[in-house]
Each structure stands twice: as C-alpha cells, then as structure tokens.
C-alpha cells in the first residue's frame, strides 16, 4: 500500500492529505528542513521540527507553523506522523509515516556523521524509504570532520603567517553554523550579516550557538585579518571581499572533493566538507532502514538507484524539484 505518491506539486500522502516539501502551494506542507529548495512560500500551514520554525519565520515571515519535537507522534487523518533527526542542518528531520502497519520514511537531505550542531542522524526502520542521493557516486567519501577541521585550521594559520585575511565561503544555514562550532575558541569568527541575522533568529528561539561577531561598517580590516570571516556564496565574489587585506577564499562544499570542482570555483582553497551523506553514508543509512523499496529523489538518482537494484535493494528514481546539491542550498536573505 503506497503511503506516498509523487505528484506535480510534490511528495503527497493521500491517506493523510498533506504534502512533504511541496514546490507548489498546498494546504499543509510538512517540511523536512529550512533550505530554499525544500520549503516554499505560500502554503496555508506548515509542520516542521521546532528548530526549523525560527528559520522559516526568518526567511518567509509570519506563517501558520505547527512544530514537533523529534520522536513525538501525532495523528493526521489517521496517519501517524513523527520526525526523526536527519543530521543535515539544525532542525532537519526525516518524516516517518505509519498507516495500518505500513511504514514509510522521507529523508529530505541527510548526513550520517554527527556535525556537533545538528541533532545526530537516526535511521528509521520502514518498508519504503525515500532518499536523496546528492553525492551518490563512490568517488564521494568524506574524510572525518575532525581531519577537515584540522586542514582548515592549518590553512588559517598559514594565512595569518602570510598576512592574508581568511574568508570561508559557506551557506548561511548549515555550513556556517558547522564551521562556527568547529572553529570556536580557535580564532575570532566574524560573520556576514545574512549569517548573523539567522544566528539571531536561532538565539531568540533559545538555540545556543558558538560566539561570533557580526561584521558591520565599523569592523576594522585589521581585526578581520586577525580572525576569520565567514560569508555566504552570494558575497564570495563581490567587491567587499576585494577590499579586505589580501583575502584568501576557501570554499567548504562536497563538490570540492573533485579537482575539477575546485578549479572551477577558482578559490584559494577547497575543503570537502558536506552536509550530505557520502556514498558509504547513503548505503549504510539505506541498509539500516531495512526498507524493501527505495525511491531516490535528487542527485545522482539514475546511477544510485541502478546500483541499489544490483545489490538487491529494489529502487526507483523519481523526478523532483529539489536542488542537485549544495550549490543550490542557497537561502540568501535579501531582507537586509
């Protein structure tokens, strides 16, 4: 019995009459996380994890938002719905649906490594699993986060030696907070206003984040040179960066795993730090669900589902409008 159908508006649960991460306006949008390709404006009501609420309010304004903590079950038109941590960004959730003994789970975006800031991923046992596959190729195998942070720290101290200002490019939601957590106490962290505003929203919602300093017109170039600067991609090539003392830019993204990705961005450094599961992560997560059937929604859908079928897991690709990965996880805030 199918609990989900893939419609032109999004992922639909007929029994419960609600959508998960729809891309066209609906009555009830169950929202996995706050990235722009997973949540659109214009739905009548939203249901999400309590930590996703400040993100939605910050991005989309005053909405009708109902929240849930992880693991708490509610009933919508006879469908039992609960949220499980997806480990992707703060507040990110997998959606577990149960109806007459049949269990389906929708992953949204996820990563299996604990990042120190988002609640750690938990596999959900289910009959059918809907998975992403942003990095669904065996070339994507992340190094442990600690190794990457050591590389970033080495690079920062190298920049300090050379009198260069360290600029790390990271998405406002997710990667920025992860960097803050990984580098807190090591160096003064200055953040662009779009990141600072989101951090503020988290703070007001009672979410404690590492200490950062918002960049204002008064911030001196000298203090930025001594600390580090985190900016969202939209700012990375702008005039402001050029005004810094010998800026050295480092991009933190899974695409940095491949040389062509690094060269194309023509940054001074690339760090393969991703908020998505790598190849072994996807496979272990899927096996842990013990699902009989897997739908693959975005990323390397064709390759990944073909491979799953070959190793004995029935899988099928579905076309969705979710971004093909980190490049699109862009929630740039234009309000300020």
């Amino acid at each position: 019995m199918a609990l989900i159908t893939f419609t032109n508006k999004g992922i639909y649960c007929k029994q419960g009459d609600f959508y998960i991460d729809p891309w066209q306006p609906v009555n009830l949008a169950v929202t996995t996380h706050g990235h722009a390709d997973h949540v659109k404006w214009g739905n009548k009501a939203y249901l999400c994890h309590e930590h996703t609420k400040p993100i939605l309010q910050h991005r989309l304004g005053d909405l009708n938002i109902q929240t849930l903590p992880y693991h708490k079950e509610i009933n919508i038109n006879g469908v039992k719905l609960s949220l499980y941590p997806a480990g992707h960004v703060i507040g990110s959730a997998q959606i577990r649906l149960e109806y007459k003994g049949e269990v389906w789970a929708v992953s949204g975006d996820y990563k299996v490594e604990y990042d120190g800031i988002s609640t750690a991923f938990e596999p959900v046992k289910c009959h059918t699993f809907v998975s992403e596959s942003t990095f669904g190729l065996p070339i994507y195998k992340w190094q442990p986060q600690q190794d990457i942070f050591n590389q970033i720290k080495n690079w920062i101290s190298h920049n300090h030696d050379k009198n260069q200002t360290t600029v790390l490019v990271a998405y406002s939601l997710g990667k920025a907070q992860r960097l803050m957590a990984g580098l807190a106490g090591y160096v003064d962290i200055y953040v662009h206003s779009s990141i600072a505003n989101l951090n503020d929203a988290f703070f007001k919602a009672g979410i404690i984040l590492p200490h950062t300093i918002p960049i204002t017109a008064e911030t001196s170039k000298e203090s930025l040179l001594k600390g580090i600067v985190i900016v969202p991609p939209a700012v990375a090539d702008g005039k402001w960066i050029k005004s810094l003392t010998h800026a050295a830019t480092g991009i933190c993204s899974g695409w940095m795993q491949v040389r062509a990705g690094r060269r194309w961005r023509s940054a001074d450094a690339g760090f393969a730090l991703s908020d998505h599961a790598d190849w072994p992560g996807l496979l272990s997560a899927i096996k842990a669900t013990e699902a009989e059937k897997v739908y693959v929604t975005h990323g390397h859908t064709a390759v990944f589902s073909k491979y799953l079928n070959e190793i004995g897991i029935e899988a099928e690709e579905v076309k969705t409008q979710y971004g093909d990965g980190e490049e699109e996880d862009n929630i740039e805030v234009n309000k300020d």
């Binding site: 090539d237 040389r259 961005r265 001074d268």
Partner: protein
C-alpha cells in the same frame, strides 16, 4: 612525495601565472634535492617509459574497489580524469608511508622488465600506503603525464628566481641533454652539462596592431612592407660551433626543426637571425594548421617531414660577426642580411621574407587584400631607419592584419564565469548545423558588453534544459557570429575540426537558429585553406 603533492595542489588552485611561479620557487627552496631534477624533467615533458598500461591499472582499481565496471565508468565521467577517479574510489589505505618522489619514479622505472603479477603486486601495495591526494600523484607518475598548466616559461622563471640565474641560461640548460638520475639540481641550473654562453638570445622586437589610417604613418617611402606570416616567430643563434633555435615563447626548439640544422655548417659564428618558422612546400607557405603537426613533438614521423617540411623566412639580422647590430638602421641590417642569405649553399629552406613593394598607401591596402592567397595574415610595416627594439615599442613596427574569418553559430551550452563575472553565464559553447544535428564548434568567453551579458544571462536562466555540473544546456536560439583566425582538422573535437582563436564578433539578433552556418561550410573552408597557394 607530500611536498610535491602540495605543489601540485597549489599549482592547480591558482590560474595566475605569478602565483604558480611563486609556488614553484617555494617548492625548489624546500624540496628534497634529489627530487628536484625529476620534477624539472616531468614538467618539461621528459617522460619515462610507461611501465603499466592504462587498461591494467583500471582493471586492478575496479577489482580492489569492488565496483561494477559501469559504475566506475560513471565515476570517470564525473571526474574527467582517470588517475583521479582511481585515487578516489580505492578503499582507504591501511598504512601510510611517505617516500620520496625520486624513489617512486625509480621504482616505477624498474617495473618495466617485470611480469604482470609483480607489477600488480607493486602498484596495489603502493596504493594501500598512499592518501587520496598522493595516490593521484602516483597514478600520474605511472602515466608520466602531468598537464597542470605549467609552461616551460613559468618553470624557467621560477628556477631563475630561485637560483638567481639568468632565465635564458636556465632555458638552455634544462632543454639540453641530461637525465634526472645523473645530475644534481645545482649542476642542472648552472648548466654544467651545456655551454650557456653560446646560446643566449636577444629579446624579440614586437609590433603593435595598426589602428587608424595609413597616411598617419607619413610618407610611404620611409617604410618597408613585408607579409605578416602566420607561423612561429623564431630566432636562430649560431655561436662557437653551436646552433640554437629560440621561439617567441623563449623556448629552445632546436630539436624540433631538423631541416634548419644545415645552418650549423653554413652560418658564420656570431650570427643571429630573426624570422618566421613556417611550413613551406614547393616554395609555398602552407597554412598554420599544417605547421601545427610539427609543433611540440618529441619525435617526428617521416610523413610529417614530408607533408609539413619546415622553412625559415628571415627578416632581420641582430648579430653579425659576433657584433650586436641592433642599433643599426633597418635598411642597413637588411642589406647585410640579403648578402648573407644569398651566400648560403643550401637554397630555398632559409630564405628572405620578401619585401612588398608599393608607392602609395592605397596600393598597399589592395595588396593586403591578397594576403590570404599566400597564407599570410596581413602586412608588417617597419620604419626603414629604425633600430631593432627590445620588446614592444610604439611607432616603428606595425602589424596590419586582414579581417578574420567569421561563422554564424548558435549557443547551446553556457557556464558561469569567474571573478567579476562569477554570477553570470559568460562562457558559451557554440554549434553549427550538421543535417538535423547541432555540432559544437567553438567555446568562447564573452566578447560582449556588460549589458549584453546580462541579457544572455537572463536567457540562460530561463531556457536551461539540462545541467551537467556547472554547465547548462540551453535552448538553441541565440545566434552569434564567431570570428576566428584559422581552421584545422582535429580528432579531439566531435566536429572533426577546430577553430583558431575563436571569439564572439557580435550577437546576431537579426538571425534565427535555422540561418546559421553548416558543418559543410566549415569543411569547405578547411579544404580551401589546405590547398597550396596559387
């Protein structure tokens, strides 16, 4: 090998020549002395024999990673580099060993006369001791082929800076005969194996493009006109019984052109000629695309010697009987040059670049229109009383090129630019029609105004059909006129031909996609350029 791996990463991270040069200087300051000559050998294309075939390497990597072959192919397709794909898909190493670069290279060379089982054992064990980035380097060492955008010139400048030696001496010494296993770094940069005193070249005198009207140059009688040749600018140096051929890129290319080696016997010591290296057959200059098969080759096939024989069209004399005569007037230098060339015993290989005679400027303008018939790209104008300048100096030398070829194409791919234009689609790929298909023919970075770029950008965003990483496939609708300097056969491109210096001439908003040129049009043009000049 870690230090070398770091160098490669630094070289790849930057597209600025100066950054690359400084990364090399740092490397040569810090690296193991034994490793340095190997790195120089590698970057100058001195390639050791490949000990293991690509097919075997690939097969072993697939076995070890336990992946189906189709999935390996998908990975390769995404990465675009076999050495890197293998480095990424192998299981993590079980132990790490940091060995020196020269040790790896020497061990790989020893593999050549071993059997397959031994080779497999060696390679797979090596993989198991290397991190991803070093594995990539190791795989490149097997293939011997590093294409990382380090020209001989960048390398030479870095070595010159690091060792405080003149760059032409470095160029000469690294182009000489030496083996990395038999020379140390200091001897190599000091050129103890060659005599660098004999080879040093003069800086080339370069011309500005002529803008404005001819009459602004003054009286026609004060000027010498020559054909502007489309070949490789060359300087031929004969001193103390040695012959050297330098190219415009300040590279020594002596070995590439054996046809010119007779000059060793026929030129006097203390002679330096300036001119153009061309392919010349039966007294006619051939198209650049023909000369191209002779460039940057380690070995020259008999057929290439037959199809693309080399000639040298000389137009200046810089050193005569050991004396620097660059300050003499052009007409005087030319006189001595003419006498010297007429005294050569071997005729028709090294010849004088003819003077184009004219009395009035408009007469010269008409002659220029016939340049393409001679496979020339226009006219050079040189002031008769001028000295031979170092580098580019306005006023005495002018190049007056004919208009480029053009073709109407449709844009089918777009990619975002970098730097200032990183937020806009500015890098486009263009196609011509071939039956009911579109075939890509050129890639060009924008030659458009900022306003046009924004317009094209908006079109791309709205009309993207597919994504391949950063590349967008767009609806074939926008027509652009592409200007180019030449056309050549190419096995690398699907169209079977490649354009030289393609750039956007203008956006043809007046044309529709069904009005663009066809592949046949370009093939006909290619054939026409390959015909010997009338």
């Amino acid at each position: 090998m870690k230090r070398f791996s770091q160098l490669i990463q630094e070289l790849e991270m930057s597209n600025k020549t100066n950054d690359k040069m400084l990364a090399l200087v740092d490397y040569f300051n810090e690296a193991d002395d034994m490793d340095k000559p190997y790195v120089i050998a590698m970057f100058t294309g001195k390639r050791p024999k490949r000990p293991v075939s690509t097919a075997l390497i690939k097969q072993w990597a697939i076995e070890l990673s336990n992946l189906p072959e189709w999935l390996f192919a998908e990975c390769y397709h995404n990465v675009g580099d076999l050495s890197e794909t293998i480095a990424l898909i192998l299981p993590p190493p079980t132990s790490i060993r940091d060995r020196k670069l020269n040790e790896w290279i020497n061990d790989l060379a020893l593999l050549n006369d071993k059997d397959e089982a031994f080779k497999k054992q060696f390679i797979t064990k090596a993989w198991d001791t290397l991190e991803t980035s070093e594995r990539f380097i190791f795989n490149k060492l097997i293939s011997g082929n590093f294409r990382i955008g380090v020209s001989n010139k960048i390398l030479v400048n870095a070595l010159a800076k690091q060792s405080d030696t003149e760059s032409s001496k470095i160029m000469h010494s690294i182009m000489g005969k030496w083996l990395p296993s038999e020379i140390n770094y200091t001897d190599l940069v000091n050129g103890v194996h060659v005599n660098t005193d004999n080879s040093w070249p003069y800086p080339f005198c370069l011309a500005y493009a002529l803008e404005g009207v001819l009459s602004s140059l003054g009286e026609p009688q004060e000027w010498q006109a020559e054909w502007k040749w489309d070949g490789i600018r060359g300087q031929i140096v004969k001193r103390n019984g040695e012959l050297f051929i330098w190219s415009r890129g300040e590279e020594l290319v002596t070995e590439q052109f054996p046809e010119l080696h007779f000059l060793l016997d026929e030129l006097e010591d203390g002679t330096v000629l300036d001119g153009e290296i061309l392919s010349v057959k039966d007294g006619k200059v051939q198209a650049f695309s023909i000369l191209q098969q002779r460039l940057n080759r380690k070995t020259i096939h008999k057929n290439q010697l037959k199809d693309a024989p080399i000639g040298f069209y000389t137009y200046d004399l810089l050193e005569y009987k050991g004396r620097d005569i660059r300050e003499e007037a052009l007409n005087k230098r030319r006189q001595i040059l003419e006498r010297m060339i007429s005294n050569l015993k071997t005729n028709s290989i090294v010849v004088l670049s003819p003077i184009v005679s004219f009395n009035q400027w408009d007469e010269l303008a008409k002659l220029r229109e016939t340049a393409r018939d001679l496979n020339s790209e226009g006219i050079m104008l040189k002031k008769l009383n001028s000295a031979y300048h170092s580098g580019r100096k306005r006023g005495d030398w002018w190049k007056w090129k004919i208009n480029p070829y053009t073709v109407d194409t449709v844009m089918i791919y777009a990619q975002k630019g970098s730097g200032r234009r990183a937020n806009f689609y500015t890098d486009y790929t263009f196609a011509v029609r071939d039956g009911d298909q579109l075939v890509t023919i050129a890639k060009a970075y924008s030659g458009l105004t900022d306003k046009e770029i924004k317009e094209v950008n908006a079109f791309v965003v709205k009309n993207a059909i597919e994504k391949f990483g950063p590349v967008r496939t767009v609806k074939p609708e926008l027509v652009f006129e592409i200007a180019f300097e030449g056309i050549a056969e190419s096995k690398r491109h699907k169209a079977g031909l490649a354009l030289r210096f393609p750039r956007i001439a203008r956006w043809r908003k007046d044309k529709k996609a069904d009005e663009i040129n066809t592949l046949d049009d370009l093939r006909q043009l290619l054939q026409a350029t390959l015909l010997p000049p009338a």
